[in-house]
């Protein structure tokens, strides 16, 4: 992987380190093991969903339906008492949404914003029909899988690590990963070189929705209950995390490491506001400002376009 393709700069990597350092120095509560554990749990869902969002961003798309997919996944989870069946249903739903989004964008030529906003609205409505109010009971084995620990390591860390390793391998060690970059940079050139542009694009959207569904399962399992508004803030937050991580929203540049860094920045910010007891509304203000900052420093400077 060449540095110019990863989008990693000293800012993308330095920002989370800087925030962590400032928090560690200024807030004693931040250093508490319990807080760090909480932090891990808080960012896990965002990280998983953001890794999915990255796949779509790499092919110059955007997926605004991740939040609705997460909410609906939590709704499906409390409907079903068999944990395996519950997870299978949620994942299948994610895959189906991804196929619809992907076909809409790659085959029908609908703009990704319009396409995924439509599915998001549709799914959110569906979610409220399935689960009008927060409630229900997530199958206990899933709750344990999200909150427990194995040999002292919290399972949320394990899930994060698994997602990072899987997506890392996918983007750097597979043909599909390379083709994501090729399609995102210049779809026509990629096509002329024998890359199956449509298939790659559809797969990217499927990956994104499946990851969103996993994130929804994880988040619902953590609180052990379903919530029709579980993922409402996630479309914006995943895009912000991806952009902060140096993934170019115009496609073709980005990396898993960058997304991890971007997610940590956002997560640390939230955590820091909690620790200092600052209004959670300010979090929205800061996320918006950070997203704007991240996007404005993105020029096509890395790639000679």
């Amino acid at each position: 992987m060449t540095p110019a393709r990863t989008g990693l700069t000293r800012y993308t990597v330095g920002l989370p380190l800087l925030i962590a350092l400032l928090l560690a120095l200024s807030a004693a509560d931040f250093r508490q093991p319990q807080n760090l554990l909480n932090f891990g749990g808080q960012v896990a869902a965002l990280l998983i969903a953001s890794l999915g969002q990255m796949c779509v961003t790499l092919v110059a798309g955007i997926d605004l339906s991740v939040g609705a997919v997460m909410s609906l996944a939590s709704g499906l989870l409390v409907l079903q008492s068999d944990p395996v069946l519950a997870v299978a249903m949620a994942l299948a739903m994610g895959a189906a949404v991804g196929v619809v989004n992907g076909l809409g964008v790659a085959v029908a030529g609908v703009h990704p914003l319009v396409m995924t906003l439509s599915t998001a609205t549709f799914l959110q409505g569906l979610c409220h029909m399935v689960l009008p109010m927060p409630g229900g009971q997530v199958p206990p084995p899933l709750v344990a899988a999200a909150n427990g620990d194995a040999a002292g390591v919290p399972l949320s860390f394990v899930w994060c690590a698994a997602a990072v390793v899987a997506l890392g391998a996918l983007t750097t060690r597979t043909r599909f990963g390379l083709h994501l970059f090729a399609v995102g940079s210049q779809p026509r050139s990629a096509y002329l070189n024998g890359v199956r542009v449509r298939a790659v694009t559809v797969t990217a959207y499927v990956l994104c929705s499946v990851m969103a569904s996993v994130a929804g399962i994880f988040l619902a399992a953590r609180v052990a209950t379903g919530d029709p508004n579980l993922g409402t803030s996630f479309p914006l937050e995943t895009v912000a995390a991806v952009a902060l991580g140096g993934v170019q929203l115009t496609g073709g540049v980005g990396s898993v490491a960058g997304v991890v860094a971007g997610t940590l920045s956002l997560g640390l910010l939230t955590n820091g506001l909690n620790v200092f007891g600052i209004s959670p509304f300010l979090r929205g203000v800061l996320t918006g400002a950070l997203l704007l900052a991240a996007v404005s420093v993105q020029r096509r400077r890395h790639v000679g376009l």
Binding site: T2, R5, F181, A182, Q186, S189, L192, G194, V303
Partner: protein, 510 residues
């Protein structure tokens, strides 16, 4: 005639293929046979259908009519991936190198080594190294392609085409950005392919190359087959006659006898982009001045700077109006300011930069004259103006037809009509007849000449040398951003202009 090439098997047969894009017929019933172990040239004027014909074989387009036979079997090639699997490797005219991939990744794109969808990067690098060594292209496999020059990217394209496991190779004008040594190198590679029994299709309009290493040549004109001949049975003159097949002079309006009038546009020491040499040009009323040169010698930057679409780093431009008032051009106001002073651009890519394809002809034309109008003023649109313009330009469509449905020639006329209606006096035209069929070409030349006879000035950039020679009063030759020659159009020759465009003071041909 019953010599060796006739004995080799027919590897590719395109039988009676036709292809249209919207209302424009690009190919009409063309039949082409390519034999194993030969280098088969395809030639013809710009827009003759050479590239389209090869794109049928490359899987980019599917024929509307007709059949493709590969090694004796009828095949359907719907995507470039399919064509490649069928053993057809193509180097397209457009660069398809991806800037965010490395040299090695680009070379292996679409056929990466590795099992079960994984990427064997070591094998990919090794393969890339072999290909680069074999083709004599000295590039580091790990370099990011966004950092390569256009020439290096072209070499990479060629290496990529050669790397494929294929027995049919297509090269679409591969030598345009290459220097002499690189062309020689390419020739050796092509000859090697031929001796290995492969079929090479070579699109070019450089006669010298065709006669040097091709065996057979097929000439296309306006989407029709003119003929296929063995090179041995041809002379360059005969080939040119086949390509042109008409009196060149008949295309162009006569040059005016009178000397050009007073100065209309004066360019002094204009630095089109930072670092480019200063350029001075004087355009007089009634003149059509051409700009010749190899691709990318600063033509685009110069014209764009004059049109207000660039950011010149220095120099002055003065425009003289019809009333004789000389005013310095204000480049800060961009194209709006330029048009206000009667200077307008007809861009090369008229679909992306000139026309609103979904809007009707009349609205596209009104964009010009209504420019100066304040936004809250009622935009009066007199249908008579459009009708008269349409008659003058021989536009055979209704004013309400969408511009996107028109042929290239009619689109160009609409662009022209926009500025005629706006009362522009200086027209900067990039590639005046690119993608325009022959009949409409003559009409556009006549329109340009009429425009200058009415006191206007035309500055035309073109890659088509016969066009410049036939149309222009004077031809400026650009090399490395500087004007290296100013020759009268009457009496100029292609060879002479090319020599001026190529010659490098250091003695190495550019």
């Amino acid at each position: 005639m019953a010599e060796v090439p006739m004995a080799t098997p027919e590897r590719v047969v395109l039988h009676n293929v036709s292809k249209s894009f919207g209302p424009t017929a690009a190919l009409r019933g063309v039949t082409l046979t390519g034999r194993a172990g030969s280098i088969h040239a395809l030639t013809g004027e710009n827009g003759a259908g050479k590239s389209t014909l090869m794109k049928l074989l490359a899987g980019v387009h599917e024929p509307d009519d007709g059949e493709i036979h590969l090694r004796g079997k009828a095949v359907r090639l719907s995507t470039p991936a399919q064509a490649r699997q069928a053993g057809v490797s193509t180097v397209f005219q457009e660069l398809t190198v991806l800037p965010n991939l490395t040299v090695a990744e680009n070379l292996n794109l679409g056929r990466e080594p590795g099992r079960l969808g994984t990427l064997d990067r070591a094998a990919a690098r090794r393969r890339a190294g072999e290909v680069l060594a074999r083709t004599g292209v000295a590039l580091d496999p790990d370099r990011l392609c966004g950092d390569l020059t256009v020439g290096e990217q072209q070499l990479l394209e060629i290496a990529k085409g050669l790397a494929a496991e294929a027995d049919v190779f297509i090269f679409d004008e591969p030598t345009a950005p290459l220097n002499r040594a690189e062309v020689d190198q390419l020739e050796q590679l092509l000859v090697r392919l031929k001796t290995e029994g492969k079929l090479v299709f070579y699109i070019s309009h450089r006669l010298e190359e065709i006669f040097r290493f091709c065996d057979t040549v097929t000439v296309l004109k306006d989407g029709r087959l003119v003929g296929t001949e063995r090179i041995g049975a041809l002379t360059p003159d005969r080939l040119v006659t086949l390509m042109v097949g008409r009196e060149l002079q008949a295309l162009f309006p006569e040059r005016p006898g009178a000397a050009p009038g007073e100065v209309r546009l004066e360019v002094r020491e204009l630095v089109a982009t930072t670092g480019s040499p200063p350029v001075s040009i004087t355009l007089r009323r009634g003149e059509i001045v051409g700009i010749a040169g190899l691709e990318g010698q600063g033509q685009r930057e110069l014209v764009r700077a004059l049109a207000g679409a660039g950011q010149p780093a220095g120099g002055t431009v003065r425009v003289t109006g019809d009333d004789g008032v000389v005013s310095p051009m204000d480049t800060r106001h961009g194209t709006v300011g330029a048009v206000r002073q009667g200077v307008a651009l007809i861009p090369e890519d008229r679909k992306a930069e000139g026309l609103c394809l979904d809007l009707p002809i009349q609205d596209n034309i009104w964009l010009g004259p209504l420019r100066g109008l304040a936004l809250w003023r009622r935009a009066r649109r007199d249908p008579v103006v459009i009708r008269q313009l349409g008659e003058r330009m021989k536009l055979r469509s209704r004013p309400v037809d969408a511009v996107g449905s028109l042929s290239g020639g009619n689109q160009q006329k609409v662009m022209f009509g926009r500025w005629l209606a706006a009362g522009v006096r200086v027209l900067l035209v990039e590639q005046p007849t690119r993608g325009v069929d022959v009949g409409a070409k003559a009409e556009i030349y006549t329109l340009l000449r009429q425009f200058t006879e009415d006191g206007g000035v035309v500055l035309a950039v073109s890659g088509d040398l016969p066009e410049l020679i036939g149309l222009c009063d004077r031809i400026l030759v650009l090399r490395g951003g500087a004007i290296v020659a100013d020759v009268p159009g009457a009496g100029a020759t292609e060879e002479g202009l090319l020599a001026l465009a190529l010659r490098d003071p250091s003695g190495v041909s550019a």
